[in-house]
Each structure stands twice: as C-alpha cells, then as structure tokens.
Symmetry: C2
Subunit: 307 residues, 2 copies
C-alpha cells in the first residue's frame, strides 16, 4: 500500500494534490494547521503544528508512510523572501524528514524554488547547468534544506525529488498576488497599477503544478526537477490576456510601480527533465487557465455580493 | 558589557575557551548538557538541552547576550560523518541563532569545518578560492547552516564569523582519536596499528584553536575564516615525534590499517585571514604541544594506576 503524508495540504498547491493522490492510488494523510479544510473523499486529516517536533514524531510513527510530499512553508506574499520563519521551516523540515525515514519512509518529494538559482546568469534555469546562488533568505533556506536532505536520503537509500517551483496562478491564490490582484481590479473596473510587465516568467496553472508533483511522487525520477511548463511570456502579455477576457472599463497600468529590486528580467525554466524523463505535460494553456481563474473570482464576488 | 553565550562549553574546544573569554572581559554564560563540568571562575553555567527549542528561547531571553560562540555539535568519533544527529544540530543551531538575535545579539562566531571544502581539488583550502563541495552529511550540514546563518545575519545586521576547524589535538581529547590512541598505545608499550600516515594535515593544539575562536569573537573580522596554523605535516611525522618523545618499546605501525575511504592525501589550510587580518599566531609548536599532551596522559594513567 502506498501511503503518503502531504504537508501544506490546505495550501494553494496542496489542496489540488489531494484528489489526484487518491486517484493515483495513495492512502492520503493530509497535514494542516487549519481545523476546517475542505473535505476530500478518501483523505485522512491530521491537524498538527509542524513546528512542534513531538507532534511530528508522533505523526510519523502512527502513519508509517512510504511516501512524503512536503509542500508546507511560510509563504506570506512579499514577506517570505526575508522572513525569519524561513529558519523555522528549515528546522522543522529536517525533523519531519528524519522521523519519516526512521519510520520506514522510502520516497520523498519536497518543494524547492526557482529562487535557489543564480539569477545573475542567463534567464533559462537548468537543474544540471545553472549554478545555485540564491539572493534571498528564502532561496538560501530552500537550497540549504535540499543539500542536507539529499545527503541524508542518500545515506539511508531513500529516494528524493526536489521539485523547484517557478510561477503559478489559479483559483484559490492569495488576492494580493499578481494574477488575482489584476483580475479583481479589472472586475471592479479599476485602474490596476503594475510594474513594467517586461519580466519574462514561466507561469503554470496550480492544478498542473499539483499534477506534476503527484506524477513525480508516483514516478522513479530522482534529484532536482524544475516544476514548470518550459514556456514563458512577459507579465505584460498575461495582463493583456486578462484585459481581453474581462473586457470592462478596468485597465492595467504597466510601469506605474517599480519592478521589485533584484528581480531578473528573464527567469524561465528548462523543463526537459519533467517533459522528457517523466513524460509529463501541463493540461492548461495560459488562455484556458486564466479564463477558469477569472470565472472563479467572478463567482466568489457574486457570492460576496449576494451576502 | 560584552556578554557571551558559549555552547559546547564542556566540550574539547569549549572548556579551553572559558578562562580566555573571562580574561578577554566577557561575562561568560556557558551552556552544557552535563551537570558537573569543571568549575571555572567567573563563568555562569546553564545546563540545558539545546535540542529543546523552548529551553533555548528561555536561555536567550534571560541572558540577552551580545555575543554567541556556538561550538556544540555531535562529534562522536567515527560516527559524526554520517550520523542523523547532524540534522538535529542544523535545526537547533538555527533556533539558537534566531532567539539570540531576537534578544539583541550582535556578533556570532560558529564552528564550521574543513569538511565543507571540496576535497577533490588542490590540498590547500582557501576561504575565498576553494569551492565548498562537502562529501559527508556532516560537511553538508555545517555548510548548509553557514549559508542560512550568513543570509539571516546579513538581514539583521548581525556580524557572523564562520570558523572552519581543521585538525586538533591536546589534553582532554577523546581517547579513540589519532593522537591519544597513539600516545596511550605507546605508553602501554604496544604496537599501535595506523593507516599509511602519508596524509598531510594541519594539526593545531586545542588551546590555540580555542584562543583563535576567542580572538575572532573579540575582533571585527567577519565571514569564513580557517581556524588552523597554516603549517602542516604528514601524520607519520606526528607519530614519529610521539615515538621519539615517549621512547619506550611501543611502536606505531603505519600501513597496518587502510586509509579512511574518501580521505584526501593533502588537506591543509590557507591561514592568511587568521594570521594577517586578525594578526593571530598559534602559541604551541607541534613538539611542545605533543609533549604537554603526553604528560597529561601519563598523569592520567598514574592517577588511574593509583586507584
């Protein structure tokens, strides 16, 4: 029986992985601090604080999972890059990994980040060729965790996949981030101030990101793998597509805000490992994904207006 | 008032730092798990388990130290290279650092290791030129901690020195390690089996290692600094010097044991930063240091024989 512990299970990516994991034949043990996540058939919920080492030890010993999908981290928009919480997440991730392995764990997938790569080089990030040289505490912390986890798993003959997440969007995203902020502004007929929009990024629908993680977990691929579509575009194009689809009086004003300091002009992913080794492709086009996301926010707004 | 928390205070290096720290004008708060360390005038002892986050938080909030000298780690001879405990020490070191900084800490010195360097390259390890590419879980863990600590301290304008320890010896060392194993074997008139002895290493007396750490703590130097003499010799020469000084019927049989797998032929330190930037030099010659160490073991043996 494949039995998986999923952390961050009520988070943006996590909640999308749950039905997919059930579908893939896993007995799913979802971990969340939040007491009332949306129910999902076939999922066992565990409401624990991952910062509490004793709770983590008890969880791992009671479940004896074969698989671990570790998505939880501190992700407060704008804050997470330099937050002290990054230290806590390195520490609790190491505890989690240790107890998981001590109780028979065999295969681990953890969420890394494109922020681990050296952003000063060329824009295309390759797992094997682009050096890691993170410029933020978040990137440094993820990268440090990867190194320790890789050495530890190697000592214990446990398989490790380190899935480096790039950019994502979709229903359920925190409202202050780029895509939802633009959608909501446009739906409210506002002028939405944005940065230059010249930044080239690899954006992927969150359901596809979740599907890639589940596919990685169920596969035999190991090591660092970029979790991205391999196709990229300017933020401006994404903004213009949202304007095209919403067609109201709202408008995105590119250049009204400064670009975030240290943000590279081009940050895109070499998705060869995901595509060729895993044989996986995203389902959503950007057009479809944005349409679905816009519909979700519209529905939410209607619900809100009705109350 | 300069107030320092010293971890690993009853350990091999730690116990030598205490009188030196008092001498240097620090109010010294020594942390150890052991209930009965040797008394040292002017030192306040705190018997806590650093693995217990709450104890660490309470310690840091009650002391409000300006300085932190973090020497504690898992060091069981032969075991520490690949021990799971390395993960716990990364985790608890991050907690310690966070609480120290939250309670006003200003300057941190932590013990790193020559095991962080890439041992496949040239034998001379330079802080600025030799890449870090650790081959063991111990080296990976120390290196990962350094990266996170450096990014975190930089965010908080806290000064960090990362002192990479090379090889050390002296009174009080664990009996199973090279120097004491040879001394005790020779004192017992035994044939002491050793590896080839061809390995070139930078050995420094533990009192000098401690003095270098205290000097670093009291200085304004920052970043990675090799804690080593800058002079090196073959293990064989150290063995021969011990035979010369003990002059008994015992003999060191080089080549009787295999060299440790993965051990580099030459592993020496560029000590320019310590010597030129800090202006520090070791006190002991190898000859003097070994003489003192042999005398210490002789005295111990006499005490043992008398009981």
């Amino acid at each position: 029986m494949k039995r998986v512990i999923v952390t961050g299970a009520s988070g943006f990516i996590g909640r999308y992985t749950l039905p997919q994991l059930v579908q893939a034949g896993f007995e799913v043990h979802a971990v969340s601090r939040h007491p009332d996540p949306e129910p999902c058939e076939g999922v066992f919920w565990h409401h624990i604080n991952l910062m509490d080492e004793q709770s983590v030890a008890t969880l791992c010993s009671s479940i004896e999972a074969s698989h671990l999908l570790h998505l939880a981290w501190y992700t407060e928009h704008g804050e997470f890059w330099h937050a002290d919480e990054n230290l806590d997440w390195v520490a609790c991730s190491l505890h989690l990994l240790k107890y998981f392995v001590h109780h028979g764990g065999q295969r681990v997938v953890m969420a890394g980040s494109c922020a681990e790569y050296d952003w000063h080089g060329v824009g295309l990030c390759s797992e094997e060729q682009t050096p890691c040289n993170p410029a933020t505490l978040y990137g440094v912390s993820k990268h440090a965790l990867h190194q320790v986890a890789a050495a530890y798993c190697s000592n214990h003959q446990v398989e490790l996949v380190w899935g480096r997440v790039f950019f994502l969007y979709g229903p359920g995203e925190t409202g202050s981030r780029f895509v939802p902020a633009v959608i909501n502004g446009l739906l409210q007929q506002e002028i939405v101030p944005c940065s230059s929009g010249q930044q080239v990024r690899d954006f992927m629908h969150v359901a596809d990101v979740a599907e890639a993680f589940v596919a990685l977990l169920a596969s035999e691929v190991c090591g660092a793998v970029n979790v991205a579509s391999g196709e990229s575009c300017r933020l401006r194009e994404i903004g213009e597509e949202m304007m095209r689809q919403i067609r109201g009086r709202g408008v995105v004003e590119f250049g009204a805000l400064l670009d975030r300091q240290g943000d590279p002009a081009v940050l895109t992913a070499d998705a060869t490992r995901l595509c060729d080794e895993l044989g996986w492709r995203p389902t959503y086009s950007l057009e479809q994904g944005l349409a679905e996301t816009i519909a979700w926010w519209k529905q939410r707004q209607e619900k809100y207006d009705a109350n």
